[in-house]
Symmetry: C2
Subunit: 245 residues, 2 copies
């Protein structure tokens, strides 16, 4: 039995997200499982490091699956890339140890959210950015972000409704960089709740516009109430950059 | 009478090129003229620095038009950006001197051609790159390119069929850079013939694959025959980067 581990890149624009759904073909996991099931002539379950929402992109999603096969990781990758649509690509493949599990073994994840700060969105990046014309105070946004780094109950920053899941997460680092008109907000942490990165970004943007103070974030965390945080940032600006094991 | 000069960015994927055509709405010039004609309530002719082919992109196409108006350049730009589709944007607008002409006054132009050298094309750049998996000898390509720098008769490197146009052009510089999987070929010159950059790129790629020697380019130029040069590179990898006046 081999345990193949794939790194997958996708333009999420036309997909319903990573996770397969009943009667919904159009998911990344669904596409991969269909192709792998054909290759191995049996049902293959492809386990991702976690879900990404509809419209969210990935440069480094990681997944694995067990299968009895003589094929090499390179052969599996080449087969996948031959049959995958042009907006999904396997960029790395290797054999992992038998016990490796793409979700359970996650050490941390890095997401990058991209804002296009130009008055009209860049035509080449329009599907991968959130266009916000007008001045954003990056210094205030960085101070606000620093208040989110650490181990906290992130209930205010999730649309999660299940109550059996821990809402305590650790954010290791938030970096906010500007290059030309683009603002990159990268968030690295041990795990993320439903909508967490997008609500963090939406809240930081409100700080950047002067609608909230950087210090108010401390109270926002303490309130443990979704309404206290900012708006949900659009999916298209978000990208799962890297999963660390 | 004002002479507005606009810098225009476009994703050329779904257009029939810059130049308007009879019965063909889908050109960049056509879109701009329609919008400007509505704004000024009269037929406006928008003069570009030159044509770009169907599927070719631009970061810095320049155009101008004369019109009697009280509007500022900023107001014209804002109006255009409100009504242009999301794959065309005006990124700069100013009032030029009365005699400025976007085509006649061109000093030089820079095109950048992007090759994606990965085994499967990058999903985010797939519409803006030519995917060529496998090894390309960049050193040989750079030597070949150096043989094209200077003033030559570029008849071998054009699909131009009109005979009343000069085929003598000057290439000031060709740079070939690799960043990650991407190879950027930038070509700067005083003017370019029909398909010239794409045939140059197609020829350089054949050198990179070892199908031609770098020195053979000298004979290719001298032959003044299209068949002597390489294949036409796909439109989607080409971008008009900047026009110099």
């Amino acid at each position: 039995m081999k345990n193949f581990c794939l790194t997958v890149q996708y333009d999420g624009s036309r997909y319903k997200g990573w996770a397969k759904q009943k009667n919904l073909e159009n998911t990344i996991q669904g596409k991969l499982e269909n192709i792998m099931s054909k290759l191995f002539n049996k049902n293959v379950e492809v386990l991702g490091s976690g879900r990404t929402d509809a419209g969210v992109h990935a440069k480094g999603q990681v997944c694995n699956f067990h299968v009895d096969s003589d094929l090499s990781a390179q052969e599996v990758m080449d087969y996948a890339n031959t049959y995958l649509p042009e907006d999904i690509a396997v960029v790395d493949a290797k054999e992992a140890s038998e016990r490796f599990h793409a979700r359970y073994n996650v050490g941390s994840k890095k997401y990058v959210y991209t804002i296009d700060n130009a008055s009209k969105p860049n035509v080449f990046q329009r599907k991968y950015t959130w266009n916000i014309p007008g001045k954003l105070n990056l210094k205030a946004m960085r101070i606000a972000a620093s208040n989110l780094v650490g181990t906290f109950d992130f209930t205010s920053f999730t649309d999660l409704t299940k109550t059996n899941k821990s809402t305590i997460k650790t954010i290791e680092k938030i970096e906010i960089e500007k290059k030309g008109d683009f603002i990159f907000i990268s968030v690295k942490g041990d795990g993320f709740l439903y909508h967490m990165v997008r609500i963090i970004v939406g809240t930081l943007v409100e700080v950047g516009k002067g609608e909230r103070t950087p210090e108010s974030i401390i109270a926002t965390l303490k309130e443990k109430c979704r309404r206290e945080a900012g708006a949900l940032a659009p999916a298209k600006g978000l990208c799962l950059e890297k999963v660390y094991y």
